[in-house]
Structure formats: structure tokens, C-alpha cells
Symmetry: C2
């Protein structure tokens, strides 16, 4: 990648000097990346972000005084143009979403190569966002709705789904090709099993359990 680059100034934030030095040494082998500073706490990071005005801040999540996410939020508040990438062991969705919402432009797992980190830095420097592959997968897939392992029978699930869609017993009977009395009976059984006494309650249950997809 040699199409006219200037040096990207990077501030490294991590409370482990071994990590800071290790990553710093690796990145400095890339001829358009310069490590302009390091910080071991969130407060230091915030201070040096202002003082050094780095192009990119590489932020660990676990800092002794505050989370990297909180430091990110504060830095983005005082310097909205700051480009912050999170470096983390964790790929869980909540962290990733919080990081993006807090203004982070990247989220990299610590198990990737320094080449990938360097590429990520350049990608973010150019205005995009970068995520390790596992991270973006967890971002795209919300946690499954907990489907109860269902105390309702197949037919009862049919009936509650119909009911929650607003169908009368008469309509449900027609839709499921059974008698209205059967619908009533299923309805009674559903209420007894779920200990829910009203149509509104059953509707809520159906929604909360993903029966209305």
C-alpha cells in the first residue's frame, strides 16, 4: 500500500506495559505508523488524547480506573473527530454495540496478527470502521429469543399464535379447520398451563416468545 501515505500517529492505551511495548514495537515496523504515546489508565488516555492529538487511539477495554468504553465516550465528547479503536479479548455483542454507540470506529480482538492491526488502523484512518470477523458476526446476530421448550403442545401453539394475531375463536376454528368448541378448549388449556388469564396476557406471551414472526 504505497499510494501516497503520511504517517499515522497512534496513541496506545493499555495497563500492561508488555502489551503496550509489544504492540508498539510491532506497529512501528510499518513505515506509516508512529506510536506517539502510551497511557496506562483511562484518565491518562483522556489527557494525552487532548495533548498529543493522535490520528488513532488504540484502546484496551480493561483499564484500572474506568473501562476503555467509558474513556472512549469521554474522549469523543471532548474531541468528536477522534478515531478510537477498541482492543479486547472479548467478542461479546454488548461490548461491541456499546463501543460503536460510544463512538469507536473499530473493534479488534487481541488474537489477531499485527498486520491485521496495522491494516485496521489504516482503514479507520481513512474513515471506515473495522471489526475482526468474529466481532462483526456477533454484531449481526442478535441473541435468540428464548423459546421456551414448550410447555404448550403443537396445537396449543397454533391456537395461541392465531389468538395473538387478533383472530376470534370463530376465525381460528375456520383457519385451523376445527370446531369453535375445540378452540375454546385449547384456549382454556393454554391459559391453565401458562397461568395467564387474559387475551392481552396471552398476546404478550406470544410476542415475547417469538411466536408472531
Amino acid at each position: 500500500m504505497s499510494n501516497g501515505n503520511t504517517s499515522i500517529n497512534v496513541l496506545l492505551v493499555d495497563d500492561h506495559p508488555l502489551v503496550t511495548e509489544g504492540i508498539g514495537a510491532c506497529l512501528e515496523t510499518w513505515d506509516n505508523i508512529t506510536i506517539v504515546g502510551t497511557a496506562a489508565t483511562g484518565a491518562q488516555a483522556i489527557e494525552k488524547a487532548t495533548a498529543l492529538k493522535p490520528d488513532i487511539i488504540l484502546m484496551d477495554i480493561n483499564l484500572p480506573d474506568m473501562t476503555g468504553l467509558e474513556a472512549t465516550r469521554q474522549i469523543k465528547q471532548q474531541t468528536p473527530d477522534a478515531r478510537i479503536m477498541i482492543l479486547s479479548m472479548h467478542d461479546n455483542r454488548e461490548y461491541v454495540v456499546s463501543a460503536i454507540e460510544g463512538g469507536a470506529s473499530g473493534y479488534i480482538l487481541k488474537d489477531v496478527s499485527s498486520a491485521e492491526v496495522a491494516t485496521a488502523i489504516e482503514a479507520v484512518y481513512r474513515g471506515g470502521t473495522y471489526f475482526s470477523a468474529e466481532v462483526s458476526r456477533s454484531l449481526a446476530s442478535p441473541p435468540d429469543t428464548p423459546k421456551t421448550d414448550s410447555i404448550l403442545t403443537t396445537r396449543e401453539n397454533d391456537v395461541i399464535t392465531e389468538l395473538a394475531r387478533g383472530n376470534t375463536n370463530k376465525m381460528i376454528a375456520r383457519n385451523l379447520d376445527i370446531s369453535e368448541r375445540t378452540v375454546e378448549t385449547h384456549r382454556k388449556n393454554i391459559k391453565r398451563k401458562l397461568k395467564i388469564g387474559t387475551t392481552a396476557g396471552l398476546t404478550r406471551y406470544a410476542m415475547e416468545n417469538g411466536l408472531l414472526s
Copy 2:
């Protein structure tokens, strides 16, 4: 970025020759990117993905025979290691999520610079995922529940909330210190305004509009 690169072979998929040629010309100015082929349809893309084995496939969403997302899915099925980036005018969340779920490693808007595209290509080539900034923001933030600004009156909101909690008209009357007849009237007005005919429907509405917090 000159730390030991080989050339990245790129297949361009777009049904507009101007786009294909334009992007192709821009990318070829980067000395580690080679355009090894172009395709104007999904079927061609699938065929050339197998024949040319490019490192990266740059896929437009709108193709004449199938969506770029569908072509992506099929290519990933036959070549799971293929790295596909979507090129699109659209930053909407459904497309982005579907692209990731279909196996895409990147999603770039067509309004970004060729430098950003080249960087994205390299980022994806190295194993990460890349998104234009606007795209990752829409990915992190599910659409706000549309809170209607509210065609229901204050009292009507009270009643629908009570109703969705499963209270009978009698109970609602007691809770709100009004007559049952008034509850019925409010209920009629709510249904008319929302064009929703059933308790189940109103319950769903209440849930979807955050009235049951």
C-alpha cells in the same frame, strides 16, 4: 503500507460497465491490487468466482438476475473461503445484516473514495471485516421503536396501557376512577384511531410502542 505485500486479485461485479471500468481503473493505480475479472450478472459472478479464484470479490447489490446478496450466499456455499465485499448505495440495516449473515466480509457505500475502497480490500484480505462508518452505525443501532407522536390522547394512552396489561373494562374503570361506560368509549375511540379491531392487536401496539415499560 509496504510491509511485504503480494498482489490482491479482485473480481468486480456490477451491471454498469461505467462503474466496473471506473472502479477498476481507480483500484489498479494501487500497486498491490489487480483486477482479474468483471461480471455483470450474479450468474457470471458465481461462475468467475470459481474459475478465477479471486482473493476478493467486490459485489454490487443490484444485479439483473439476482441480488448481490443472493450471489454472495451461493458463492460462499461453494467456496466458503471466498471474501466478498458488498458495494451499495444503500446503508439500511436489513441489507447489512443480511450481507453479513450471507457471508460478506465488508459493506461499503458507493460514495466513498477509492482510497477507502482499496484500504477496505486490504483489510478484508487480511481477515477482518470492513464497513463504511454510516453502515456500522446503522448496524449497531436497531431502528427506534416508532413512537407515534401520539394520535392517542393522554387518557386513551392510560386506557390502552391498562387494557394491554390484561385488565377488564371493569378493572380499568376502578383503576382510573371512571365508569365502565367511559372505558368502553375510550376503547372505541382508541380502536377507531389506531384502526385496530381487537384486544390482541391493541396489546401488540402497546408493546411495540413501549407503553408497558
